[in-house]
Amino acid sequence: MADETTDPGPVTTLATPIRLDFDFTPGVAQSKFLRGLERGEFHGQRCGVCGKVYVPSRGSCPTDGVPTTEDVLLGNSGTVTTYCIVNVPFAGQSIEIPYICAQILLDGANLSFMGLLQEIPTDQIRMGMRVEAVWVDEAELTPSLASVRYFRPNGEPDADYDTYKEYL
């Protein structure tokens, strides 16, 4: 038994970490999207039946149930369809609050995805705002969405509601 000077006292807590290690394979279609990010480009895929362009593509059209085979290079700009201003701190937060989380419909795409919006005061964000991707330095590009530093307003006039109302 330990003496008084080294006695750590009775055990009252137990560390029980739950950990899942896994190897993620994005598949053929998403790998193309990620390879594009490594070059500073957004790549999508078009459905041969309905003509919609998905980004990132899962390799098939969820509406028509067919493989998406045509690769499409999308623009660097897009339209904010909707957004959320984050004011609530949470564990693991890496961005200073408040910040804007926006759904962005890239030019040429028929599916919006979520992006961080910066270089604009939070009270000036609006639906239809035209934005562009800001990429990390070329040496830091990786096949990951971390290659997109954030989106920012690109100075164009707001898009007409009719151009993005289908994507809300």
């Binding site: 055990v11 807590t13 137990l14 970490p17 899942l20 290690d21 993620f24 994005p26 790998s31």
Partner: protein, 152 residues
């Protein structure tokens, strides 16, 4: 890497939980840290190891904690010829239910043995604890059981 090659990435999802042990499990873990086993006395006089916080028959608080082991008997076992990365031993071993001397219930742990031929139901085993400086109050403070009188 060619563009046609499919990507893959290693991910880790982890929740760093910490649990309160309570007075009974805490005492049991404190015992392991001290290199000994404690069991709880039930209302019918049986000794429960590992201890439960409440009597399995009456649901009252369990009685006095008593020391058991460190030797015991294998009740049931299964040989693992190819240990997985997260198993407690990285050499072939057995999962076993061991009833410690003085206990009336069995404890699940591992037996470090040279091979399945060394084990059978009824084999006497004894505890091999980690060195005192490495013990933290965890089930892993008990490194393994080994066959009594055998080479460990």
């Amino acid at each position: 890497m060619a563009d046609s090659e499919v990507l893959h990435a290693e991910h880790r999802l982890e929740y760093p939980y910490s649990r309160s042990t309570g007075p009974v499990i805490g005492a049991f873990l404190t015992g392991l840290r001290d290199g000994r086993f404690l069991g709880a006395t039930g209302s019918d006089g049986r000794v429960i190891v590992p201890p439960t916080e409440y009597d399995p028959i009456t649901s009252d608080d369990v009685g006095e904690l008593v020391e058991v082991g460190p030797g015991g008997v294998i009740e049931s076992w299964a040989w693992v010829s190819q240990p997985l990365r997260k198993h407690p031993l990285q050499t072939p071993f057995a999962w076993a239910l061991v009833t410690l001397d003085g206990a009336d219930t069995a404890l699940l742990h591992v037996v470090d043995a040279p091979g399945p031929d060394a084990l059978s139901t009824g084999t006497r085993v004894t505890a091999r604890f980690r060195p005192a400086a490495e013990r933290i109050g965890s089930m892993a403070d008990l490194e393994a059981f080994v066959v009594e009188g055998g080479a460990s």
